[in-house]
């Protein structure tokens, strides 16, 4: 039984590597259906990644080690964060070493290097994308931390495993602070993963792209790694939201038999969240860049209200 937590850890990293592209494919599929188009199929992201891996890398002459190293670094950082967020069980050795603040910092490292890589080649698009990305990051990160602190207040810990356990074991109560934090988290997750009101992942229109502008110069296996990391980041944010705000069905500590059930619950929740994401994305238009301060400002407001209502009302 000693190896059990490590088994979970390995299993979880395999899940994030394998299921994240399927989730991205699921979102794309639902989106196509809701817009009356023929969908490319659930496993299209796999085929894209395989295709990109088999292609040659085209590098600019002045590309430095930052540009070449960033895809590996981003991929590694996202996989590492995948070991922190509880998905199947609260027994995670890595969750004990890194709390949720470290998780935010890990995402910040990935973003920092992507922004540097965007500017490395010296094209106009890369610099523009990096500039926009950092603008969004500077507004989204305080709000993200605020939302997470609200949940930490309620669970009296910043460790994700601990937070999940407290939310899971607490009887189903109407907690205003958690509701506010959830709303804030949804807004931030949309901004951080570059979904529609903030950024459109499916466009290369120069006026609107943010994340795509930064990675415009990548090709071959570099692009494959970055795309894969992008899908995993979306998956991770969804899992983080599920773990913190609706952990029901997750396996308790040391309960090996509950793992298949937890997996089933996870798939069901992922399906539902994907549908919700598509609803948001088809229902809203992309926001003007200068309105983003208001969008992320409201996220910050909601997170702060959550924290205040914890003190006032609970």
């Amino acid at each position: 039984m000693m190896f059990y937590p490590f088994l979970i850890e390995v299993l979880q990293i395999l899940i994030i590597l394998a299921v994240a592209p399927v989730f991205a494919g699921w979102v794309k599929m639902l989106k196509c259906w809701s817009q009356g188009r023929t969908s490319p199929g659930l496993f299209q992201p796999y085929r894209d990644i395989v295709k990109l891996f088999s292609k040659d890398v085209v590098l600019a002459e002045n590309a430095s080690w930052i540009f070449r190293g960033t895809p590996y670094l981003v991929f590694g950082v996202v996989v590492l964060s995948g070991g922190i967020v509880p998905m199947l069980s609260v027994d995670l050795p890595l969750a004990a070493t890194a709390d949720v603040i470290a998780l935010v910092a890990l995402f910040a490292i990935a973003r920092f290097f992507t922004a540097l890589a965007g500017m490395d080649i010296g094209t106009a698009f890369g610099g523009m994308g990096s500039s926009r990305e950092m603008t969004i990051a500077s507004l989204a990160e305080p709000a993200m931390l605020m939302a997470i602190f609200t949940v930490s207040l309620a669970s009296k810990s910043t460790s994700l495993s601990q937070m999940v356990q407290v939310v899971y074991s607490g009887q189903a109560v109407l907690r205003p602070s958690l509701a506010f934090a959830l709303l804030a988290f949804i807004l931030i997750a949309l901004a951080e993963t570059g979904r529609i009101p903030v950024d459109n992942p499916a466009t290369h229109l120069e006026l609107t792209m943010i994340h795509e502008a930064m990675i415009l110069e990548y090709s071959g296996r570099h692009l494959a790694l970055i795309e894969w990391a992008g899908m995993m980041k979306l998956f991770l944010f969804v899992m983080l939201g599920i773990a913190v705000f609706s952990p029901w069905g997750i396996a308790a500590s040391g309960d090996l038999a509950a793992i298949p059930r937890a997996f089933l619950f996870m798939i069901l929740k992922l399906g539902a969240v994907g549908a919700g994401l598509v609803l948001i994305e088809t229902g809203l238009a992309k926001m003007r860049l200068f309105r983003l301060t208001e969008f992320l400002g409201s996220a910050f407001l909601l997170a702060t209200l959550g924290m205040l209502s914890y003190f006032i009302l609970e």
């Binding site: 109407l174 205003p176 506010f180 301060t293 910050f300 407001l301 209200l305 209502s309 006032i312 009302l313």
Partner: protein, 221 residues
């Protein structure tokens, strides 16, 4: 329904009232503003009914029904008609920009939390924790009246303030006597009609409901 659950429901409704108050503060569209006002009235009405049930104060049911009919149905309808008649359903102008208003709003919530802390210590009612939210709603309504230029928006701010006062009465003392509440409800109704008449007058005189126009009421010299 036990007391604990009722207290939780009431807290949740208080949070929703606070949320709609902030929503009104940042909402730019006139119709959106009215819808938010109606939602606030609805949460207020449900909250009043819940408090009435727990406290066994049956006159609160009447206040709840009054709130429902007046603030959720009648007043929004009147404002709706006004906006359609005056053709002013475009974006609302604010004096201070929206993120700044939000930050001021947060500061007001913290302020009212500290202001009501002694009352919360003394009170024994299950609704005592929502008093801070009620005071914050009053202040946010006031803030809305200050930061908006448009006459109709200011009226909505005023009505939101009244919502806050009503909520404060319910959470601090399980509601005012029925006679007072009936009087206030009637006042609000009459006020809405008078506002309507005033709006028409202002609109025909200045051709706009922007109150900046009213800075120069004196004759040209």
């Amino acid at each position: 329904m036990n007391t604990n659950l009722a207290a939780q429901i009431n807290s949740f409704l208080a949070a929703m009232i606070l949320l709609t108050a902030f929503g009104m503060l940042v909402q730019r569209r006139m119709y959106g503003l009215i819808h938010l006002f109606a939602w606030q009235g609805l949460f207020l009405s449900v909250s009043t009914a819940v408090v009435g049930f727990v406290a066994g104060a049956h006159h609160l049911y009447i206040s709840s029904i009054l709130t429902l009919s007046l603030k959720v149905i009648l007043l929004p309808y009147i404002l709706h008609v006004l906006i359609q008649r005056l053709k002013i359903h475009k974006e609302v102008e604010t004096i201070v920009n929206v993120p700044m208003t939000m930050l001021i709003g947060i500061a007001l919530v913290v302020f009212s939390y500290h202001l009501t802390a002694p009352v919360r210590e003394l009170s024994t009612l299950i609704t005592r924790s929502t008093l801070a939210v009620a005071l914050a709603t009053v202040m946010l309504g006031l803030l809305m009246m200050i930061t908006r230029k448009h006459a109709v928006t200011q009226i909505i701010g005023f009505l939101a303030m009244e919502n806050g006062l009503f909520f404060a009465a319910t959470s601090a003392t399980y509601g005012m006597p029925l006679v007072v509440e009936l009087g206030v409800a009637l006042d609000i109704l009459i006020a809405a009609f008078i506002f309507g008449i005033f709006f028409f007058q202002i609109h025909t005189t200045f051709d706009s409901l922007d109150i900046d126009q009213m800075a120069r009421l004196k004759e040209e010299d």
